[in-house]
Structure formats: C-alpha cells, structure tokens
C-alpha cells in the first residue's frame, strides 16, 4: 500500500466523521428551529421546587453573607447598596443578567445562578464564593433566593414561564482566524453594537442615556477589559462567555439578545472580534474600529495577558522600565520607538483613605510607558474614560488648594437605615451617576520623592502627596490644559507651585473613542532641593493618580495606584560579557584538572 493511498483514505474518513458530527449537532438544533426557537437554543422543562429544608438552610446562608448588600427583602437595598455602583441585584422581579436562557426568561438556577455565586461578578462588588461556601451551601442559598425573594415570577409557573436554553456545550467555537475577526469587526457596525459600545469598543458610544430596569444609570461594557465582564466566570479570555452574552442579552439592561437576527456563525465572528479587543501584552491598534488584514492577523495570534488567580485581574508588575533612546523623544503615540519598552498595567483603586472618599472609581487602570534620552524623560499614559470631561465654569478654588470641603466637594453620605425607606434611593451613588455630579476636568498625575537618593531604605514619602518630613514633586495634568509641578508635603497640605513646571511639557493630550492619550515630557534634572533628580539604574518610587471629571472627581476625590518603581535601564557594562567568559574558561581548566587526577589515580591503582 502506498503512502499517498493511506493518506487519502484518512482524508475520506475525516470527511465522513466531520459530516456525521455536524449532522449529530445539527439535528437537535434544527428540530428546535421548527418550534421557532432561535438558532442554537432548545426548550427545557421548568425545575422542580426545592424542599423546605433546603430553603431553610439557604436562609441561614443568606442572612450571614448576602443580606448586607441585597437587603432583608432581597430588593438590592442592604446597607452596602448606597455606596455601590453597579448596585446589588434586586431579586424581587426575577430579572437576572447572565443567563443561558432566551431574552426576558428566568435564568437556570443550577447553571446560571450557581455560576454567578461561584465565580462572582467581576467589575462589581459581588465576589466569588467558591472556597468560602460549599457547593451545597451555594445551592441552598439559591433555593432561598429563588423561592422567597424572587416575588414577581416563579420557576414553577407553568402558565407564564418557559425556558429556551442556549446549547453552549454542544456548539464548538469558531477558530479565531483573521477572516473571522475581520468579519466580526464589520458585523459590530452592521448590528449597531458600536452605537453603545463605541467605535473602538471602549463603551463610550452612549455613556449617559442608558438606564436599567430600575432607572439607574448603566454604562455599556468596555471590550478592552474582559476581566471586568460580569459574565466572564473567572475565565475572561474565553470566547464562549461573549458568545453567551451576545446570544441571550442581559435582562434588565439595554443589552438585547441578538439570537433572532444573527446566525450562530455570525455570533462566533462577533465574539471572536470582541474577544480580540481585550488588552494583550502589546497594543494592537485598530483606530476607529478599522481592522486591516495585518491587524486581524495580529489579533488572531496575540496571547492573553496573564491573569492573577487571587484577584482575577491582570498580574501587576511594580517595576516600570524606561529605555534610553538617541535623539529627540517621540512626539506622538505612533512613534516606533515606543515598541522598545514594555507597557505596564497600573491598577487603580478609589481613594478611600481621606475625605472626600471615592467609593466608585470609574478609572480602574491605566497603561504607562517611559523612554528617556540624555536630558529628558517622557511618559505616555493611556487610559479608558468613556467621557471627555472639561470643566466649563470657573471654580472658586486655586489649583494648589486641596481641602475642597468648604466648596461643597463632599463624599457620599452613608444614609444608614433611612436609605431603605427612600423607594427610589435618590441619594445613592447609583442614582447620582447620571446627572448628580458637577463636571470637573479629567486629569492624571504622578509623584516622585524629592531627594529620594537620601531616603533611609525602605522609607518613602507617604503615597498621598508626601508628608511633613519627606516631600514629593507632583506633576499634574488636567484636561483644561493646565500642567503644573507642585511640592506636596501631605494629604491635607495645600500644594506649592514649583518653577520647574516651566520646563515640563505636554507633548500630546488627546481624547478619542473613549480613551485618553497623554504624553508628558520632563527634564531628568532640576533644582536638587525641589524636584526629584532622575538617575539611571536606580529604583525611583512613583505613585499615580487619575481623575474622571464626569464622576465628580476633583481634589482628593480620585483614583490612586500603589507604589511603583521607575527604572531607567542603563547601558550594559563591559563586565557583563567579561566575567562570564572568564568563569567559563576557569571551569574548563578545573574539568581538565579533575579528569587528569582521576585518570592518574586509576593508573596508580592499576599498577598497584
């Protein structure tokens, strides 16, 4: 038998197998289609009611763990709710976002709700309860919630309820080929996804006019941060999650189901495209959502960011490397030399140390890169912000003033028990997200310790604008065009302008399609007594701050990072090549000596 004949036999078998698998898959799906179900769905019976003991066991779980946010009646109005946005779920209407069931239907308790409790809802305060509650306890609490707190609907209501279930297990994801991704990028325009999610998918399309079923402001997802997708199930780069959300929609929100007007094949293309937009190690630009063949190729092969299993966010690296470049520093983000240096992901939390605290930070991360030459260092900050905010009215305070409480910049009051008595919760953060805040300017800032070379390790000036003993220099850019460099001596001490700010330059500041790009250049050296003197080869502590003007961020109400270290990488010294060479030669000599001695000893033994 010749080799080629064997090969063609195999191919024939392969075709047969593929056809039979496709038929096997297709049959139940097409029988579903006969009952006017959307492609990929199948009807399923309603679940039987849980036993009374299980409901009772679940009540115990609920009142220990859940009541604090979801409230006694499950109306999503526990004591925690007032300072949360997104708000805790109101169970009463039986409206649940993440489901395998068709739009408007109840979720599957033992699949959808169990997964939500197990994996949590990233981007909200709902944590993963796996490892905290046993699987039995998680099922028990669902028995309580679905029978006692969901009041307007029932899983046992044969008359009004039916379940059309997306058969996600039986569908094989389409390979994320460049063609599929490209087709997806065209489909998101055709299906009008971009009207809400924005041209580049940063959720900036219709950021202010969307409301959920309870009238609270809601924002379209930012496709570049898949780890914040509520339905990401601790597996953010899994395309199935996107396919599921796209197929079933999110009940209670403006996100519809696209099951009726897209084929399964089209949905995989869209899911592949959306998944490819989630950030990777290197930026893959697709300006205005235009995907060239080259871009599609890059999307299809880029590896996901490593995700930290403790936080379900990208892994942090606290060292920001900066590379030396010859000549002038870049003038925009498209300069090829930015590719010399990795970009770092800066995790940002709300500033909650001092008043006014920022309980809802709409900026939760930034990307930073740094390059330097003989005289200057340049930082490029890029962060997603759905709105470009520039303060229109003149404010009463000076840019150096930090204690803005007297001007009415206050934090969210706790409300306490009165909150539950206010049916519309007008005083909660969630209610204020639409028009409740005065609009200030977006901004970004970073601080260095002054005279960091003299700090007794590991001492640093306090992360929050320094302290009495050790001051910092704070470089702050605001979207109204101001760039200042200030001396900071403490969180509650007014800043002092430094003359150094005349030498610092905003190379570029542009907001486009839901993202800011801000490039700031500053001299490496200034007055040693006033500003940080940046040197190569050293760990220089840095802290970052960001403001979202539409979130009412101003003064101390902002997002803040942990300490990072800037390292301006020095050129490689000659000794790096010399010593290892010497060591290698030395080892060879030792080897010769050892073997020689061994041979001699054997010879002696032989003679003896």
């Amino acid at each position: 038998m010749s080799k080629s004949r064997y090969g063609s036999n195999l191919a024939r078998w392969g075709v047969c197998l593929t056809v039979s698998v496709l038929l096997g898959l297709g049959l139940p799906l097409s029988s579903g289609a006969q009952e006017d179900l959307p492609e990929g769905f199948k009807q399923q019976g309603l679940p039987s009611p849980p036993p009374a003991e299980q409901i009772e066991a679940g009540k115990r779980v609920y009142f220990t763990k859940c009541v604090w946010c979801h409230g006694v009646e499950g109306a999503g109005d526990g004591p925690g709710a007032v300072r949360l946005w997104p708000r805790p779920r109101n169970f009463n209407a039986g409206t649940f976002k993440i489901r395998h069931t068709a739009s408007g239907q109840l979720p599957l308790i033992d699949l959808d709700l169990l997964q939500t409790v197990t994996h949590g809802l990233p981007g909200s305060a709902m944590p993963s309860w796996e490892g905290i509650l046993t699987e039995q306890q998680r099922k028990d609490v669902l028995a309580f919630v679905t029978t006692q707190l969901v009041q307007d609907r029932s899983w046992q209501d044969e008359e009004f309820e039916e379940l059309f279930v997306l058969q996600l297990d039986q569908l094989t994801p389409k390979q994320n080929t460049p063609e599929s991704i490209k087709r997806g990028s065209e489909l998101v325009v055709e299906k009008k996804c971009i009207e809400c999610h924005g041209l580049e998918g940063r959720g900036d399309g219709n950021a202010f006019n969307l409301k959920d079923d309870w009238g609270f402001s809601i924002q379209p997802a930012d496709w570049h941060k898949c780890w914040n997708f509520r339905g990401s199930r601790q597996d953010p780069y899994n395309v199935r999650n996107i396919f599921r959300t796209f197929s079933t929609g999110l009940n209670g929100t403006p996100m519809p189901s696209f099951a009726d007007n897209t084929s399964v094949d089209e949905r995989w293309d869209i899911a592949n495209y959306v998944n490819s937009l989630c950030e990777r190690e290197h930026e893959i630009p697709a300006p205005q959502g235009q995907v060239s063949d080259q871009t599609a190729q890059a999307f299809s092969t880029a590896l996901p960011l490593p995700i930290d299993p403790l936080t379900d966010k990208p892994k942090s690296n606290f060292v920001i490397p900066s590379k030396f470049v010859e000549g002038d520093l870049p003038t925009d983000e498209n300069d090829e030399r930015w590719k010399l240096v990795p970009r770092r992901w800066l995790a940002m939390g709300g500033q909650i140390t001092h008043k006014p605290r920022n309980f809802v930070n709409r900026i939760d991360d930034m990307w930073v890169q740094a390059l330097y030459n003989e005289t200057h260092i340049e930082f490029m900050f890029r962060w997603d912000d759905r709105t470009k905010s520039i303060q229109e009215d003149e404010v009463d305070w000076d840019p150096t003033e930090v204690n803005l409480g007297d001007y009415g910049v206050e934090e969210q009051a706790p409300q306490g028990t009165t909150f539950a008595e206010d049916p519309f919760h007008q005083e909660s953060i969630a209610a204020k997200q639409k028009d409740g805040y005065a609009v200030y300017s977006d901004g970004v800032a970073f601080q260095f310790p002054v005279k960091w070379q003299e700090l007794p390790a590991p001492r640093k000036p306090r992360y929050f604008w320094g302290d009495e003993r050790f001051s910092v220099d704070l470089t702050k850019w605001t979207a109204d065009g101001t760039l200042g460099v200030y001396e900071g001596t403490g969180w509650d001490q007014d800043l002092t302008e430094l003359d150094f700010q005349e030498e610092v330059e905003v190379v570029k500041a542009e907001w486009a399609n839901g993202r800011w790009t801000v490039i700031v250049k500053r001299p490496l050296k200034g007055d040693y007594e006033e500003v940080a003197y940046l040197e190569a080869g050293k760990y220089i502590p840095m802290v970052f701050f960001a403001w979202d003007g539409h979130n009412g961020d101003v003064g101390r109400k902002m997002a803040v990072s942990a300490f990072y270290y800037l390292v301006m990488e020095p050129q490689i010294p000659l000794t790096t090549y010399v010593y290892p060479g010497l060591i290698t030669v030395g080892i060879v000599i030792i080897e010769g000596w050892v073997l020689g001695r061994r041979a001699n000893r054997r010879k002696e033994k032989g003679q003896a």
């Binding site: 779980v61 763990k65 604090w68 936080t311 379900d312 080869g537 300490f563 270290y565 000794t575 290698t584």
Partner: protein, 321 residues
C-alpha cells in the same frame, strides 16, 4: 484553573505537610521497587527528588516565592538528600557510581556522556553567570511588619484609651455587663461557610427584628463594615475586596488565623482608629492606604465594626492573660 487549589500566601504548614507526604510516597515506592528487585539507582532517585522539590516550590505555591528563598530550600533539601545517599559506605558508593562511570568513560556511551558534560557544564555555568551579571530589574523585596507593637495608650476623638485596660463597650450580656463568654457563644460557627448558628433565634441572627444588645450591635457594626470596609477587605472579610488588586500592601484577611484571631480587641481598635498613617516605621505607614478611621467614624462605630469582624469570622479576640 479552579481544579487546582493553590497554596495561598506563605502557608508553611500546608506546604511542609504536602512535601513530607509526597516524600513518604516516594520512599514507599522506592522500597516496594527495591523489594521487587527493580530498584531505581540511588543517583537518579536523589536527583529526581531534588528536582521534584524545586518544581513544587516554583509551580505549586502562589503567589510565587522569590528565587532567593527557593535557593535556601534548595540547599536544605540537597543537604537532606546528601545525608540519605551517604548514610552508609555502600550507599555512598552506589550513589556516586554513575558519576564515576561517566568520568572514567567505561563504555562508548559513558564516553559520549562525558564529552557532552564537558561541553555543557562550562556553557551552562557561563550562561548562568552572564544572566546574573546582566542588569535586571526585578521587583524589590521589602519586608514589612504586619502586626507592629502597639502603643500603651491611644487618643481617639480627644479621649485617651489605655489599651491594656479598655474594654469594648458593646461586648455585653443581656444585663449590659462586659461578658466575653456570653458574646463568644453567639458568633458564627467555625465550620465551612462560617454561618450564624440559628437564623430563627434573635440571640444568633443580627437581622432578627427582635435582636437586642450584643446581636443588635453586631448588625450595626456590619452596616458600617459594608458601607466602608468591604471595598478592600471584601464581602467575606478575606481581604479580597473590589480594590484588593490595586493596593500594595494587600488588605488584611480577617478570616486568616494570623490576623484578628491572634490580636487583642484593643489592638484592632488602635489599628482601625489610626490606620496606615498611624503605623510605626516598620509597618510602612507611607505605603498603606488603610484610612485612619477616626477621620470617618465615631469611637462607638469603631468598637461596633471591630466586634462585627470577630462575629463574622467566628474568632475570639485574644485576652491579655
């Protein structure tokens, strides 16, 4: 990756027992094989165990431990293995035989091995030296004291508290007297889930409309916790709040037996009141974002929230005696 439960943080007990358990299994396998006359050469057994330990330390533990710590474990385990293989003269001879055979080149195969080793060893060591000379900028390791010594007294809202004497005014029995035994009986169960003991009894359920005294104060403390603290310390008080990923040092995990469970309640009161900025130098006051809660809460609210933390984790505060 939920199928594999990682060793979280530096949990030495779990790590050591897992390592010891697996070494025991190896010893059993080795013994059985020896009995069956199919023994593994001592040299390969020793090298294999050492590689196993290195791989275990590198891939099993999360967050990863630094290279320097792995190097210490590596040296200690190498010493242990050396003691095993050199236990008797016979064992030592058996252990070094493969090495000697290669050095002497007793057969064609061994000669080949010798040539390979002669080339690979200098190259590998030279490469290792090159890597260590190459300027690299790993994250610096800074060791911080998590529970620094508290002061004798602390002043909160103008009132001085002597930490050795003061008691939580809300830790009271139904007669309104300070009573730790009474309140300890009412905390959640120290079993999986840490659930309240009886949801239908106002003595145990803070949300029962008839809850009074201690149990009612727990609920008030919980309300404060879920309006202020959960953002970092998490809905289950395990230090995995919304912003845990953004901050360094990471928020304390109260469900860990190494935090509030081994502290006096007044220590916690001091830490909560003064926050990160109030820590002594060894606690890195400059890096912690923990608020000085005296700026946000009253003294009563702080006592209540501390009590809630003990209730919800099922731990007793340590007493002074």
């Amino acid at each position: 990756m939920t199928w594999l439960k990682l060793v979280e943080g530096y949990m030495p007990m779990q790590m050591i027992s897992e390592l010891a358990g697996s070494i025991l299994v190896f010893a059993l396998i080795n013994w059985t094989l020896n009995r069956a006359g199919m023994g593994i050469p001592k040299f390969w057994a020793g090298v294999g165990v050492w590689i196993y330990i290195q791989l275990y330390l590198k891939y099993r533990i999360y967050p990863p431990i630094p290279f320097s710590v792995r190097a210490i474990y590596g040296t200690v385990s190498a010493c242990g293995i050396f003691m095993w293989v050199s236990g008797s003269e016979d064992a030592w001879q058996e252990f070094k035989r493969p090495v000697m055979n290669v050095m002497d080149g007793i057969s064609g195969f061994h000669k080949g091995m010798r040539t390979v080793a002669l080339i690979v060893i200098p190259l590998a060591l030279g490469g290792f030296a090159y890597n260590s000379f190459l300027p690299s900028f790993e994250e610096p390791i800074e060791l911080r004291t998590v529970h620094p010594a508290p002061p004798a007294t602390t002043k909160v809202h103008g009132k001085t508290f002597v930490l050795q004497v003061v008691e939580n005014p809300y830790r009271v029995n139904n007669e309104g007297k300070y009573d730790q035994a009474y309140t300890d009986a009412r905390i959640v169960e120290q079993a999986m889930g840490r659930l309240m003991k009886d949801v239908n009894d106002p003595n145990y359920n803070p949300w029962d409309p008839n809850a009074e005294g201690y149990t009612k104060y727990v609920r008030e403390g919980g309300e404060i916790f879920f309006q202020n603290c959960h953002f970092c310390h998490g809905d289950n008080l395990n230090g995995r709040g919304l912003w845990a990923y953004a901050f360094n040092p990471i928020p304390a995990n109260f469900t860990d037996a190494g935090t509030i469970a081994q502290l006096q309640e007044t220590f916690v009161f001091w830490r909560v009141s003064k926050g990160g900025i109030g820590l002594p130098g060894e606690g890195f006051p400059w890096a912690s974002v923990m608020p000085p809660w005296e700026q946000h809460l009253t003294v009563d609210e702080i006592w209540k929230v501390v009590m809630f933390e003990y209730w919800h984790t099922g731990y007793y505060p340590r007493t002074w005696d």
